[in-house]
């Protein structure tokens, strides 16, 4: 319905539309279930806005291509699933080290390896955090419905530009293949962060890694006004390799601190009935839909149950989780993996023995009834 902002779309299509809203101009990817529809949609929508779509030979080259495109000044993204995400890890590390803004959408399916191509999982949470080698920090966002998917995708581009970092969008098969109503925001309804371009004039020395007073690093479109070096090696403010201990030490702290010191402004979350919650569910992604379903259902029969939905997974909002869980007697992490976020929650709360895991790892979406049964066991009421 062209006149109305209401759309009924598949999650993958929402991802594509939101990326265009955020100013995407370059997509390189290799199709893989369950993320293929994003590439399909962008292959005909991107050229219409003067952007470039390219299907690469594999995921390694896809990731490298978006790094190159971003350096030249374009907002760039790729979309993949677990097996492809594994192949991208090396170049993600390069983007971290060279501080190149880009967005990587990982639509999670069952793993490891080729796993379950058409079934849901949330097994890539730790891979998003530590998939690439070496100490680093990274931003990872997720969502549980199409409206939030839209917002988080735009936010991902904004955070990538603000912090000059790769940002990972961690969605899953259920969200990506499901169709749901989404209201496309008006232009400028969600603020867009554009590339911070250096004011250093052409022909003058430009230092690509020399921060402004506010700590941000203005960029210069590669191949444009300035000559500079980009490398995956530890580098100085000119971008040239160095192994001077003080420079290396400073860069390492910069790469980690630029994100870890700003958790409070990166964290996105939703909360429901936290105040009186004796039992607190913590969930994210499509699992959060089932968690919210059972929370609302149980409140109707008088259970004091609330929910915290995480939308920023990395950097993990430890302080937030500690604060929100301080009155809860039972903290139940609902996720579709063997406890990847449960471990983070356990490390964040005051009493780690009050943390329980309610999970499902058979390729099926965890159901409200599954969670209800977990709660019965946790509350000591049998099955």
């Amino acid at each position: 319905m062209p006149d109305s902002p209401i759309r009924f779309l598949q999650g993958n299509e929402v991802l594509a539309d939101a990326a265009l809203y955020a100013g995407l101009k370059f997509f390189a990817g290799y199709p893989i279930t369950p993320s293929t529809e994003t590439a399909e949609r962008l292959s005909y929508l991107l050229p219409r806005v003067g952007g470039k779509f390219i299907q690469m030979e594999d995921e390694l080259s896809s990731m490298c291509a978006i790094i190159g495109a971003s350096l030249t000044g374009l907002k760039a993204m790729t979309a993949t699933s677990g097996p492809g995400f594994s192949l991208m890890q090396e170049a993600i590390g390069y983007a971290v080290m060279a501080e190149i803004p880009c967005v990587i959408a990982d639509v999670q399916r069952g793993g490891p390896s080729t796993g379950l191509p058409t079934r849901v999982s949330q097994g890539d949470v730790m891979q998003a955090r530590w998939g690439t080698h070496g100490d680093h920090s990274i931003i990872t966002l997720t969502a549980s419905n199409h409206q939030d998917m839209f917002t988080m995708t735009v936010e991902a581009f904004n955070l990538a530009e603000t912090f000059r970092t790769p940002v990972i969008l961690l969605f899953d098969e259920v969200l990506a293949h499901m169709r749901e109503k989404v209201t496309i925001p008006e232009k400028d309804e969600i603020p867009i962060v554009d590339r911070l371009v250096t004011s250093v004039p052409r022909g003058t020395d430009y230092h690509p890694y020399f921060p402004r007073e506010d700590g941000r690093l203005p960029m210069s479109d590669f191949g444009g006004s300035h000559r500079y070096n980009v490398t995956g090696l530890f580098h100085d403010m000119w971008g040239f390799p160095t192994d001077k201990p003080d420079v290396v030490n400073e860069l390492m702290h910069h790469l980690v601190n630029k994100i870890e010191n700003r958790v409070s402004i990166i964290q996105r979350y939703k909360e429901y009935h936290i105040d009186d919650a004796e039992t607190l569910l913590i969930s994210y992604g499509s699992a959060a839909r089932s968690a919210r379903h059972i929370m609302e259902d149980r409140r109707k029969v008088g259970m004091n149950i609330g929910m915290l939905e995480l939308q920023t997974l990395w950097p993990f909002p430890r302080q937030l989780v500690q604060e929100k869980t301080k009155n809860a007697k039972y903290i139940v992490v609902v996720e579709m993996n063997m406890g990847q976020i449960e471990n983070e929650v356990r490390a964040s709360v005051n009493h780690s023995d009050s943390v329980y895991l309610a999970n499902r790892v058979d390729g099926q979406l965890i159901t409200p009834t599954d969670i209800k049964n977990f709660l019965r066991i946790i509350h000591g009421r049998g099955i």
Binding site: H177, E180, H293
Partner: protein, 187 residues
């Protein structure tokens, strides 16, 4: 109000398309919330096809349909696989030309002669799925034939649109020739 549908059949019958069209009609022209999911394996075609739709006036959380109010079966495989899922008070819609019926589940079975009617009136059974939507718009309500028509016009063009709209009205009329039946229950 919440009503859960499962459309099932074999690949190529258009059950998934029908589910999407109904959900679009509910969202675009009915002011309702809808969620549509489908399940499929790694194979490209054939086998069982299934699409779930939830229509609700409220926000929909859990997106899958474990126990449908309304089940539509257009293949024997789907019929034997899913009939037992139907909620008490729910209905199973089947095409008597395709399905060999058995009395199993605690649900009413309603026979919709889609195959015969489409073949007779349109000379093809291709738009059976749209004919089905015409029937549902009368029997279940929630989406109107007009809303469905708009979505079909938007989705198909030329001869396909024409044929599908004919099939839609065929379905609407078909219902008037069915025996009277009690209303379908959903919350």
């Amino acid at each position: 109000m919440i009503c859960r549908f499962v459309f099932s059949g074999s690949g190529g019958q258009g059950v998934i398309t029908a589910a999407i069209i109904m959900a679009e009609a509910a969202v675009y022209h009915g002011g309702l919330n809808a969620v549509q999911t489908q399940s499929y394996g790694p194979e490209a075609r054939g086998g069982a096809a299934r699409a779930d739709v939830i229509l609700s006036s409220e926000e929909i959380q859990y997106p899958k349909v474990d126990r449908p109010n309304i089940l539509i079966c257009l293949s024997n495989l789907a019929y034997s696989k899913y009939t037992w899922l139907v909620r008490p008070g729910g209905v199973v819609f089947i095409d008597p030309h395709i399905i060999k019926t058995r009395r199993t589940a605690d649900a009413r079975q309603v026979e919709l002669p889609l195959y015969e009617n489409c073949l007779e009136a349109l000379g093809t059974t291709l738009p059976m799925n749209i004919c089905l939507l015409g029937c549902l718009s009368r029997l279940v309500g929630l989406v109107t034939p007009e809303a469905l028509e708009k979505v079909i016009e938007n989705r198909f063009s030329g001869k396909n649109a024409e044929m599908n709209i004919k099939a839609l009205h065929l379905g609407v009329d078909l219902v008037t020739r069915l025996p009277e039946m009690p209303p379908i229950q959903f919350l």
